[in-house]
């Protein structure tokens, strides 16, 4: 892969990694034996681990100039591998924390393995590790194909991918040491946040420069969504994470926001992380891989426009529905609630556009588990966006808030929608990237599909039941006007559901492991000889490129 870089690009890589190692040395010196110092060591090790392959191929011959007439897929391949590695890590941590809720002794009496530290390793592992890598990889794939342009940079895609993964590693290792900002989904501390800003701005520049090179007159819908994802996540991340470290050698910082404003900024961030990270980005994925796999045109371009602008505009307003019945002023809550209701139709328009695109291809849905992954993902997208708007209505929220219903809602979204659309896209992407006829085993794709569906349903139904029972137990009064149940009573009632959700999560993890094996065997298989020249910016014959193995 590094052989594909020119010698000046290799020099650039070595200089960048040297600088990174120097930053690590500085951090280690300032932080000494504290978590900041340990993170310095991790940065040094990360830089050295990447420097090794760069230096070992440093004097290899210059790459073939013809490579520039192909799409640039090396970083995407690495990104897919990282996606699956983070999936296994994040989902394993999820099963572990779920099991801890049923059997608290599984923390083994150690500080690093307490629920409070493991829980963000799960959320960061799956959202940012798995989801983020999947978004970066697929976005770089899609922008090239839909623009008929090679990525605008040889080194910068690697910088974005590796820099992003360094951020994820700093985040997760920090949690084990107790480093956290205590902001949900924004736990990483100031230095990791600053690093992510650099990486993310590079990502934005890379993306927009590639789009600027496009040979298509129009920008495809998938790219609108990916652009919204990249741009808005940058804005959210910067605003929510403005903080002042207590010293240059400390991992600890304090946010500049205070009181209820802090809560509002956090949930403006938190909900738009759901919106622009877990929704817009993955809709970009859906809009490319679903029509490609179904071999059908998108149902309606007009519906695409309506749902894109609806989602992009309305989502920005709804964060306050996370703070119903709190110290947040009543009017802010109502505003968030009404925008959440108006958000429903644009959301459903996307799900409907996806499902109606399948008209004329339902026989493929029946026969092809990969396409079925994407079909079910669209259904879950519709279900969880309806549920989200419903739960945002204040009186409904009075029952659901702080209960497992929220957990059910989130997992219907992330297991049913985000993970399934990702797996469907990856099973489409992998044979195309590695130039194979198809996945190593369609049967194993089928096995993965059913494990994922079973796991999602067991998980979501367990949490729906447990959440509604919790909510009802907390608000049931006796005829004498006192609460009927103590909090501990509701915990006892949760116990069987906590076991069921652990089992559901375990099934989902099992499916992911099957997927990893299948991908590994596909990569190892012999490349297909035909079709090599088809997936390129300027195909040999005139006219449009036929869609090859994808």
């Amino acid at each position: 892969m590094i052989k594909q870089l020119t010698s000046s690009e290799r020099q650039g890589a070595a200089v960048l990694l040297g600088l990174l190692a120097a930053i690590g040395v500085l951090m280690a010196a300032l932080g000494r034996t504290g978590p900041f110092g340990i993170h310095g060591l991790i940065v040094i090790l990360f830089a050295l681990a990447l420097l090794f392959p760069v230096l070992s191929t440093f004097y290899e011959p210059e790459p073939d100039p013809e490579r520039l007439t192909y799409y640039y897929d090396d970083p995407i391949k690495a990104g897919i591998v990282l996606t699956m590695a983070w999936a296994v890590f994040g989902m394993f941590m999820g099963v572990w924390v779920a099991a801890q809720l049923a059997w608290p002794n599984l923390a083994f009496d150690a500080a690093w393995s307490t629920f409070g530290r493991l829980r963000p390793t799960h959320t960061t592992g799956v959202i940012f590790g798995f989801g983020g890598n999947a978004l970066i990889s697929t976005s770089l794939y899609v922008v090239q194909r839909t623009s008929r342009a090679r990525l605008a940079g040889q080194l910068s895609p690697w910088f974005v991918l590796m820099g992003y993964n360094l951020f994820c590693i700093l985040a997760v290792t920090g949690y084990f040491m107790g480093v956290t900002q205590s902001k949900e989904y924004a736990e990483p501390e100031w230095y990791a946040d600053l690093w992510l800003v650099i990486v993310w701005v590079s990502y934005f520049i890379l993306y927009i420069r590639t789009l600027a090179r496009r040979k298509e007159p129009h920008i495809y819908v998938a790219n609108w969504y990916y652009m919204a994802f990249i741009l808005v996540v940058a804005v959210l991340h910067i605003v929510n994470n403005i903080a002042v470290p207590i010293s240059w050698g400390s991992a600890k910082s304090y946010t500049v926001w205070a009181g209820v404003q802090d809560a509002m900024v956090q949930w403006w961030y938190g909900h738009n992380a759901v919106a622009f990270f877990l929704t817009s980005g993955f809709l970009g994925m859906l809009y490319y891989f679903l029509p490609v796999r179904a071999q059908r045109p998108i149902f309606s371009y007009r519906l695409s426009i309506l749902s894109f602008w609806g989602i992009t505009f309305f989502y920005m307003w709804v964060g306050s529905h996370h703070l119903h019945y709190t110290a947040l002023p009543h009017w802010v809550q109502n505003l968030g609630m009404t925008f959440s209701v108006m958000l429903l139709v644009p959301s459903w328009a996307s799900a409907g556009n996806a499902l109606l695109t399948l008209n004329g291809a339902w026989h493929r849905v029946r026969d092809d588990a990969t396409l079925r992954f994407m079909m079910v993902a669209a259904v879950f997208y519709g279900l969880s966006t309806f549920e989200g708007s419903f739960l945002a209505i204040r009186p409904v929220n009075a029952l659901s808030h702080y209960t497992d219903w929220t957990v059910a809602h989130v997992h219907a979204g992330v297991l049913g929608w985000v993970a399934l659309i990702t797996f469907g896209s990856i099973y489409t992407l992998v044979p195309s990237l590695w130039k194979r006829e198809r996945m190593y085993s369609p049967v194993l794709v089928e096995v993965h599909f059913w494990l994922a569906i079973a796991g999602t349903l067991v998980y979501v139904f367990a949490m729906w039941n447990s959440g509604i029972i919790q909510g009802l137990m907390w608000r049931t009064y006796t005829a004498d006007g006192t609460l009927a149940y103590s909090f501990v009573d509701s915990l006892v009632a949760m116990y069987p559901y906590y076991i069921a959700r652990t089992f559901g999560g375990f099934l989902f993890l099992l499916g992911t492991l099957v997927g990893c094996y299948n991908i590994w065997m596909t990569v190892r298989a012999a490349p297909a000889t035909a079709g090599r020249r088809l997936d390129v910016p300027e195909p040999d014959g005139a006219g449009m490129a036929p869609s090859p193995a994808e």
Partner: protein, 293 residues
């Protein structure tokens, strides 16, 4: 670039754009979607008119219903208190004997007491009141500070070794660590204390050690635990002759207790619970023991 074409499945035209093989149909937005979109907007706009919603500089639109979440909560609290007032009043005025004899009041004690116990006491004493290691069992009739409803109420109100000025105070000194007894003496007293609840332990070969321990006990421990070791509820000294233990009744734990002393803590509840709630809890805890003869 290809031109617009007709899709045979849907009967709609494409937009004419193609991206790596992907085309789009120019299908109009379905009427149902537009109607549904309008319905959600009508709902939202109606809500804006009737509820506080939009900011206006330093204030906000109050809405036609003139409602506010703080006012609603305050009213709900007043209403709930009014609903409870009759029986709260009765329980506050009644004596414990009257409460225990009255089935209606005991029903309230059972339901409300269960809830109060679960939310306030169960963390240490467990949900069933049976306690766990280091936290006393409240159902075994072996009371440290007295098991009558009045004594229990007093304990809940002020706590033990708590921040309350009237707290019950009890401290067992660290006899071994602070050098009041040498290790041999600690072992001997432990053997004696253990033998009180385990008569089989007094075998001929141990009788000398136990006797030596008894002498130490009479001079050192009896001040609190009594000559007969049956404890003293005035100072919170437990009965050592039964087989109920707070910190564990094996020889090793008894030695640890004598060596390092003990100072249990129970928080004061008078800041968190109302007198009526404390009275309900005291009756509830008392009834746990009655149900468990």
């Amino acid at each position: 670039m290809s031109v617009e074409e007709l899709d045979p499945v849907s009967g709609h035209r494409t937009t004419g754009h193609v991206w790596n093989g992907i085309k789009e149909l120019d299908t109009p937005v379905p009427r149902g979607v537009l109607i549904f979109l309008i319905v959600t907007h009508i709902f939202a706009v109606t809500w804006w008119f009737v509820m506080p919603t939009w900011p206006l500089g330093t204030t906000y639109t109050k809405g036609l219903l003139d409602t506010d979440q703080r006012k609603i909560v305050e009213q709900k609290i007043v209403d709930a208190e009014a609903q409870r007032a009759p029986w709260v009043d009765r329980i506050e005025k009644a004596s414990f004997d009257e409460i225990l004899a009255d089935p209606k009041m005991m029903e309230i004690v059972k339901t409300t007491g269960h809830r109060l116990f679960g939310d306030n006491c169960a963390a240490c004493h467990r949900r069933d009141g049976k306690g766990r290691s280091n936290y006393p069992n409240l159902t075994d009739h072996d009371w440290i500070w007295g098991g009558g409803p009045e004594a229990i109420m007093q304990t809940i109100t002020t706590g033990v070794n708590s921040s309350n000025a009237k707290s019950r105070i009890s401290q067992m000194p660290a006899f071994g660590r602070d050098g009041m007894l040498d290790p041999g003496q600690v072992d001997n007293v432990a053997a004696y204390v253990y033998s009180l609840s385990h008569p089989d332990y007094s075998t001929p070969e141990r009788i000398k050690q136990i006797e030596a321990g008894r002498q130490v006990f009479l001079t050192t421990c009896a001040a609190c635990h009594g000559q007969d070791a049956k404890g003293n509820q005035e100072v919170g000294a437990p009965n050592l002759t039964d087989n109920y233990w707070i910190y564990g009744g094996d020889i090793g734990t008894i030695i640890t207790t004598i060596h390092g002393g003990r100072e249990g803590h129970m928080p004061t509840w008078d800041e968190r619970l109302t007198p009526a709630q404390i009275k309900i809890l005291a009756t509830y805890v008392y009834s746990l023991g009655v149900e468990n003869p």
